[in-house]
């Protein structure tokens, strides 16, 4: 007794202040009671001290003692239940049979492990979900019809796997008396019993189960090897193997699914050739090895993921639904009876409701919350499984005010929904998209203005999540949809007013296109321009003006042939700029399949911001009108800068191949407009000798940048003496002429 009280005292002082320990020593000092209380009842320290004092005295004896603060506690001696060999030896001091010792040792080893978890009332090491996993077909709860379907399918394999013939001829069998579809794909919500059913049915029909699940490495050659071994070898039990591929809908399962698909397709090929053609024995044996003689069952939650697209086509698909409430309840009752749990009907219903007919999680709930069920069911929110409500139904819920429920209640419901679904981003974006199509009451844009600030908050949160990986911020994200609810929910909103379409994507794509164009223009610029033009300014500052510079406007657009000299300068300037920016003119077809001239890269898509169609049309019409003339100008620029020797050489070559080209030209004269003149010049075919070189009907392989290298310039007069120039008039028509012209005519037309 005394040493106990001392012990407490000592430890208290020891705990409270280190320095006091030496001064107080062993004596009990009357001090004001410390502020904290210590209960040494269960402390290891005390119990070990106790037992070391005198065990024989304390056995089966209760101890009452006073604590410093006046409380009374009673200490119970812990019973030592372990059978000790020592005792046996002591009791029978002499004739100790070795058998007895062995026996007791065995006993001890059996007893000790069960003693460890003594703290909890019930002793069980097994999860109920595993313990009560149905062991045979009859124990399965719910989905009876599907279960039978599965059984049927597997039964069809009997011929191939077991070699036994089926009782009745079924028409859904293939040539080798196997089911038509070689893979069974089971899908359904978690906890519906897919895995269990697959295992049970396989067992029931005498298969050895080989399971490959997500915990196994399922990529690359390893899995291929594994699957092949499983499917082709015999097990020790002489039973055929049934391959169960669990959880195949992960994103990283492409490799595994490829393996399955390969097996099926190989099998299909082998079956065909085996059946229809007469092959040598050797070959047949070889083919037979490729045959699939074992059933494969694949299991997934979501059958419509992209990775399963191809597997779906070749497999028998079985949908598992949630088990019915009734069958779940029956099963739960059975288990409760067996586990001796007294549970009311109401609570059972509540459990099923919480877990959404998921038998496994119901069992987990029952096992681990068994005693405190009442308290859980009180606040059912906490234990609820993450609901699978899609983001658009949440968005719809947000805007559709339920008049029967109080606003407060609805907010709470939505908040849990958003918290558990974790799709606040999608929801918020949808909210923003449909903001203007909603019906709601607003005075002077007060609500909208408020939302603008909340959207800023949303932007802050999402950028901090992305930039700083501040995931903890996402918990505030649900506030934005809730605010939307408070401001905009109205009973009259339907799914029509809520805009699910994400319009941002469309603009995002467009932006990408524009950026790509600007980038290509910018990176094609020569060094000095490249450095003086900022890419970020191109679209807003430079290109709009350049667009107008390269497409000059004239007083008389109809008679562009007879331009005044000062107007021709504009054309030349335009061509120069065009060349400098690396633009080319190409022919394309518009929506009405008429030929139009286009600038490439398409600068007009960058420059035109207005949605106005007529505006765009007038611009493109103008471009179409002027571009042919600019192109001539562009050609001329290239010519004048070419050097003499080169052109002479080309000219000789050209004469040699002129016949060939004439044919080409005739075929390429499908121009829309009857052109005033079309012109052929020998010098410019440096790059495209032998192809058609009509100015207007474009040669296909013309390299737009061919003119960018700048050899020594050459004068017109020089050129005039070196070669003849052919002009084709009304080319392609019956009244076509071919005659010599002079340079003067050409430059001044």
């Amino acid at each position: 007794m005394t040493d106990l009280s001392f012990d407490i005292k000592f430890s208290e002082s020891c705990l409270s202040h280190d320095g006091r320990r030496s001064s107080t020593g062993i004596a009990t000092v009357d001090e004001p009671a410390p502020t904290f209380e210590l209960n040494f009842n269960s402390s290891i320290l005390t119990s070990s001290t106790l037992s070391s004092v005198k065990r024989s005295q304390v056995i089966n004896q209760e101890k009452n003692l006073h604590l410093q603060n006046g409380r009374r506690i009673s200490l119970k001696r812990r019973e030592n239940q372990a059978l000790e060999i020592e005792d046996i030896v002591k009791n029978k001091s002499f004739d100790v049979g070795i058998k007895d010792i062995y026996q007791s040792m065995e006993l001890q080893s059996m007893v000790t492990p069960t003693q460890q978890p003594k703290r909890s009332k019930k002793i069980s090491t097994e999860l109920w979900a595993e313990k009560w996993r149905p062991g045979n077909f009859l124990e399965l709860a719910g989905n009876e019809r599907t279960n039978r379907h599965l059984l049927n399918w597997l039964r069809k394999w009997s011929k191939a796997a077991h070699g036994e013939s089926l009782p009745s001829e079924e028409e859904s069998l293939d040539l080798l008396q196997r089911p038509q579809k070689k893979i069974l794909l089971i899908h359904g919500p978690p906890g519906a019993g897919k895995t269990t059913v697959a295992h049970i049915i396989a067992k029931q029909l005498g298969y050895e189960v080989a399971e490959i699940n997500a915990s196994d490495e399922r990529a690359g050659p390893e899995v291929r090897e594994k699957v092949h071994t499983v499917l082709t070898t015999q097990s020790f039990s002489k039973k055929p193997v049934c391959l169960i591929a669990d959880e195949v809908d992960g994103s990283s399962e492409h490799g595994f699914i490829k393996v399955l698909l390969d097996i099926v397709s190989n099998d299909a090929k082998a079956t065909k050739s085996l059946h229809y053609s007469n092959l040598s024995k050797d070959k047949k044996a070889k083919l037979r090895r490729k045959l699939l003689t074992r059933p494969i069952i694949a299991i997934c939650n979501d059958v419509y993921t992209r990775s399963l697209d191809r597997l779906r086509a070749v497999s028998e698909i079985v949908a598992f639904r949630k088990s019915s409430t009734r069958s779940v309840k029956e099963r739960l009752k059975l288990i409760c009876d067996a586990e001796k749990i007294d549970i009311s009907e109401r609570n059972l219903n509540a459990i099923i409701d919480i877990t959404d007919c998921d038998l496994r999680s119901s069992l987990n709930l029952l096992q681990f919350q068994g005693e405190k069920l009442e308290s859980i069911l009180g606040d059912s929110d906490t234990k609820r499984k993450d609901s699978q409500l899609s983001w658009f139904s949440i968005a719809l819920k947000l805007f559709k005010r339920n008049t029967k429920v109080e606003k407060k209640v609805q907010v709470k419901e939505l908040s849990t929904l958003l918290d558990t679904s974790g799709v606040y981003e999608r929801v918020s974006n949808t909210c923003f998209n449909s903001l203007h199509s909603l019906t709601y009451q607003d005075a002077q844009f007060g609500k909208l203005a408020e939302i603008a600030d909340w959207l800023w908050f949303y932007d802050c949160i999402s950028s901090s999540i992305y930039e700083h990986q501040a995931q903890e911020m996402s918990r505030y994200g649900t506030l934005i949809p809730l605010k939307m609810f408070l401001n905009f929910s109205d009973p009259s909103n339907t799914h029509e007013t809520v805009n699910m379409k994400n319009s941002t994507n469309q603009y995002f794509e467009k932006k990408k296109v524009v950026n790509e164009i600007v980038k290509s223009i910018h990176s094609n610029l020569e060094a000095s321009l490249f450095s003086s033009l900022r890419r970020s300014d191109m679209a807003s500052q430079t290109l709009p003006y350049v667009y107008h510079i390269v497409l000059p406007n004239f007083k008389n657009m109809a008679r562009l042939i007879s331009l005044k000299p000062e107007e021709k300068i504009k054309l030349t300037e335009a061509a120069k700029v065009l060349k400098e920016f690396g633009f080319t003119i190409e022919q394309a077809k518009d929506e009405t399949f008429t030929y139009i001239q286009k600038l490439v890269p398409p600068i007009d898509t960058v420059v035109n911001c207005q949605n106005d169609l007529s505006h765009q049309k007038s611009l493109s019409a103008h471009a179409n009108q002027i571009l042919p003339y600019i192109e001539i100008e562009l050609k001329r620029l290239n010519i004048t800068k070419r050097n003499l020797a080169n052109s002479e050489q080309d000219f000789k070559k050209l004469q040699g191949s002129s016949k060939r080209r004439n044919i080409g030209l005739a075929s390429s004269s499908n121009n829309r407009k009857s052109r005033a003149a079309s012109l052929q010049e020998g010098g410019q075919t440096r790059d495209q000798l032998g192809t058609s070189i009509d100015f207007f009907a474009k040669s296909l392989n013309r390299d737009g940048s061919s003119g960018r290298t700048t050899p020594a310039p050459q004068t017109n007069s020089q050129r005039g003496t070196t070669g003849r120039i052919w002009v084709r008039y009304n080319e392609g028509f019956s009244n076509a002429v071919r005659r010599n012209i002079t340079w003067e005519e050409l430059w001044n037309f």
């Binding site: 909208l448 807003s540 003006y545």
Partner: protein, 370 residues
């Protein structure tokens, strides 16, 4: 060099048309053969780059114009390959941080060190140009350098100052960190005035007599056109010259009445602003959202949209007779604009904030309409 803006770009310090003081300072810098790190700032189109190149030309001679573009490949610490273009001449090179997104720190560190650690040895000019054995690195759009990159820069600037000179070019020095400002000589190049721009335009036209024919012969009339151009382009000489050329190209002849060629996006913004001031409804908001989307998708910077919108609102409020308390309304609009400008810089969802701005402007207007 066929755009007027490039064709008539002054090549030497003596050719520069305005900011005589700066030119003098730069030429004395160039004469000494050495210069400190420089930080040029000022609005775009004011002539920062022109002045830098002219200075470099004075130091290194015409070599500086032999530009070439080299694609460079960097490997980021995350093993991602990063390719961007470097414009370089034998004596200098130019980089633009916006090409490299968030990896500019790596580029700054690696590239500058690489340049700085290789000493240029020029045997031909050893005697006369002993001093300028350094290479010049021009960093365009320095305001877009991330903080990390700027921090990486500051030590390099000191450590390798024997071999390297940095010239930073930026529009605003507000996002340049203090240590860099203290290590550089700040040179502000202000936008040219109406007269200065007119001077340049006049020079351009004088050089091309055929072109000048399309413009009015009377000098005051021409000046009027010039100042109109200056106003429309925000005194950006570069765009001013482009506009002048576009006007010439697009119109048979130019008079005072010739409408200015506005980029399409500016027209869209103008229309948008008019619509908002005259009609404040939710359907208008919806419509303006699609306009905003259109503008953003044409790669018009959101901040520019905000700025132009604000200016338009400001103008419209003055003109609209139905709006009372114009001064407070204008103040409120500007205040909202500054709030949303901040949001645009900090946030990433431009459309939210642009629309938010419009909504707030509607609120302001709604309260003050008779």
């Amino acid at each position: 060099m066929s755009l007027w803006a490039d064709k008539y770009r002054p090549k030497t310090l003596d050719d520069l048309d305005y900011h005589g003081k700066i030119s003098n300072m730069l030429s004395s810098l160039a004469l000494s053969g050495d210069f400190p790190h420089l930080l040029f700032h000022g609005p775009s189109g004011a002539g920062k780059k022109t002045r830098i190149l002219a200075t470099l030309r004075q130091i290194y001679g015409p070599n500086i114009e032999k530009l070439k573009v080299d694609p460079k490949v960097f490997v980021t610490p995350t093993k991602r390959k990063l390719e961007f273009n470097v414009v370089s001449s034998p004596n200098h090179l130019e980089i633009t941080p916006s090409d490299m997104n968030n990896n500019d720190r790596v580029v700054i560190q690696d590239l500058l060190k690489e340049v700085a650690q290789t000493e240029t040895i020029d045997f031909t000019h050893v005697s006369e140009h002993k001093k300028n054995r350094f290479k010049v690195v021009i960093i365009n759009e320095a305001e877009l350098l991330t903080r990390d990159a700027q921090a990486a820069l500051r030590r390099t600037m000191e450590k390798y100052s024997a071999n390297i000179r940095l010239v930073l070019v930026c529009n605003s020095i507000s996002s340049i960190i203090e240590p860099i400002k203290s290590r550089t000589l700040l040179i502000r190049v202000a936008a040219p005035t109406d007269e200065e721009m007119g001077l340049v335009f006049e020079k351009v036209l004088k050089d091309q007599p055929e072109v000048a024919k399309s413009f009015p012969a009377d000098e005051t009339e021409r000046q009027q056109i010039y100042s109109k151009i200056a106003r429309v382009t925000d005194h950006n000489l570069r765009t001013g010259l482009l506009l002048l050329e576009a006007l010439y190209s697009y119109n048979p002849s130019i008079t005072i009445k010739t409408p200015m060629i506005m980029p399409d996006w500016e027209n869209v913004i103008k229309k948008l602003a008019i619509g908002i001031v005259s009609e404040r409804t939710v359907s208008k908001l919806q419509q303006s959202r699609s306009d905003l989307y259109e503008l953003i998708s044409h790669s018009i910077p959101a901040k520019l949209i905000l700025k132009k919108l604000t200016i338009e609102f400001w103008r419209l409020v003055d003109e609209d007779s139905k709006i009372k308390n114009t001064d407070t309304v204008k103040m409120d609009i500007v205040q909202q604009a500054s709030i949303f400008d901040e949001r645009l810089s900090l946030g990433s969802k431009d459309i939210f904030h642009l629309e938010g701005f419009i909504t707030k402007v509607m609120v302001v207007l709604e309260k003050n309409v008779l």
